[in-house]
Assembly symmetry: C2
Homo-oligomer: 263 residues x 2
């Protein structure tokens, strides 16, 4: 069972897999990645702690450490399909490895991801269009502010999945069981109410169609720290590229059962 | 209702109340206090995150900030009945105010306390001898290691309450409902099994008798960071004196209901 995420991480490391990870290793917890110099690590830890819905921390590595306890033999410098390098709040470039940028004072935060609950939604008969169409999930910057901490502040980012009206309550209940993976939706229906003007133009990821019998359902998203990087103009920060997650060895089931120990 | 903790904090501030807070403002959340220079704040945050049972964080103040969101009008420099000042891992002295030591880089952590669930135990007909006798709860250093983080490492500290055998399961269930206030007991019965040699000589707090129809029941304790301060020889750290807690405006009931938002 564990061979599966390990194999995917190896493919990613060898640059044989460079796509979004949605729909892959579906039974395993996937994580958003934030890497910062230690100087900013306390501020970011506090930002995440104050915004548990968008930034649920599932692991923090010591300065310079590259292997997460959640993924044996992993290396955070090579095991993410695509990285974003931020300088002074701007995306400088995207890379498939950050080995050349690594420093001993860099602190890695792994943050829960909604891809974790997608398998449970699928198993419950709730179809997810972006997976069906082989796309990345659609993500939007909202007008909802986060709670600031130190240098970090900025708007909440959400992921959106169109859900059939008669299945929305079911989807809400299922995802509420994953409080460390963004939990229940933060909004259902009218995108304007949360400051999204053009639902057909996501800020991150790919567009998906919303059918007449569906509503857009919005979940807090682990891309929120990337907007905080932009707004706070933090001098240096590395993240995953939206949708290109770090895949752990922990199954969604184990995560649910041991929720407290992964907090 | 809220007047009560505010009044107690005022009495503490005016040095009219200098005793342990156990049994006072019983309906309100009480907190362990750890104050550190920002330089050590990330390491401590990580230590607490990795040891959620002994160090459940309920609030973190920004560097230099003195008022907690959980207690309107409070001042962390004056509102704890008794402070301990640690230098290089040794208790230097105890003070009733830390105004003269305050600096703008000091970061305050508030950590959940088992006094929060004591009222619920009492309401369920579970008698607590230390409260009955007007004493501080008995606390012990164990042989159970914590998970280290940065400079911080050390043994788990526990609080002990003698409970009648036929009520132990009830006490376990009640306290399991307070995962952010140390949760279920970590051990029941033989103190030797967790490295406590002399149950009649607590390391902190007061001795209480254990009757023949009772077992000692041990909960993880927020004094654990103080042992980490000792073991890590951190240059400077301020804590409450064991049992002399910071009393918040949040009721135990509110805390239970909004568990996630106080995480």
């Amino acid at each position: 069972m564990r061979a599966y995420p390990k194999r995917l991480r190896e493919k990613i490391r060898n640059r044989e897999f460079t796509r979004p990870t949605t729909g892959h290793c579906e039974d395993f917890v996937q994580a958003n990645v934030v890497i910062l110099p230690k100087k900013y690590a306390f501020d970011f830890f506090l930002f995440a702690h104050r915004n548990p819905k968008s930034c649920p921390i599932i692991d923090v590595l010591e300065p310079g450490e590259v292997e997460s306890n959640l993924a044996t033999g992993s290396d955070i410098r090579t095991d993410v399909p695509r990285y974003r390098i931020y300088h002074d709040g701007k995306v400088d470039r995207e890379l498939s490895s950050i080995e050349s940028l690594w420093k001993s004072d860099l602190v890695t935060f792994l943050i829960g991801c909604s891809f974790t609950f997608e398998k449970t939604l699928l198993d419950a008969g709730i179809s997810l269009r972006h997976i069906k169409e082989g796309k990345n999930v659609a993500m939007y910057t909202t007008s909802i502010p986060t709670t600031s901490a130190g240098v970090f502040h900025g708007p909440l980012v959400v992921s959106m999945r169109p859900i059939k009206r008669n299945l929305i309550e079911k989807a809400r209940q299922i995802t509420a069981n994953y409080p460390n993976m963004h939990g229940a939706p933060i909004h259902i229906g009218d995108p304007n109410q949360i400051g999204i003007e053009a639902i057909e133009q996501p800020d991150f990821g790919d567009t998906v169609k919303i059918e007449d019998d569906e509503e857009p359902v919005f979940w807090a998203c682990g891309v929120t720290p990337q907007m905080a990087a932009v707004k706070s103009k933090v001098p240096f920060m590395i993240t995953h590229s939206p949708g290109h997650m770090f895949v752990t060895d922990i199954t969604n089931k184990e995560f649910l059962e041991n929720r407290n120990s992964f907090k």
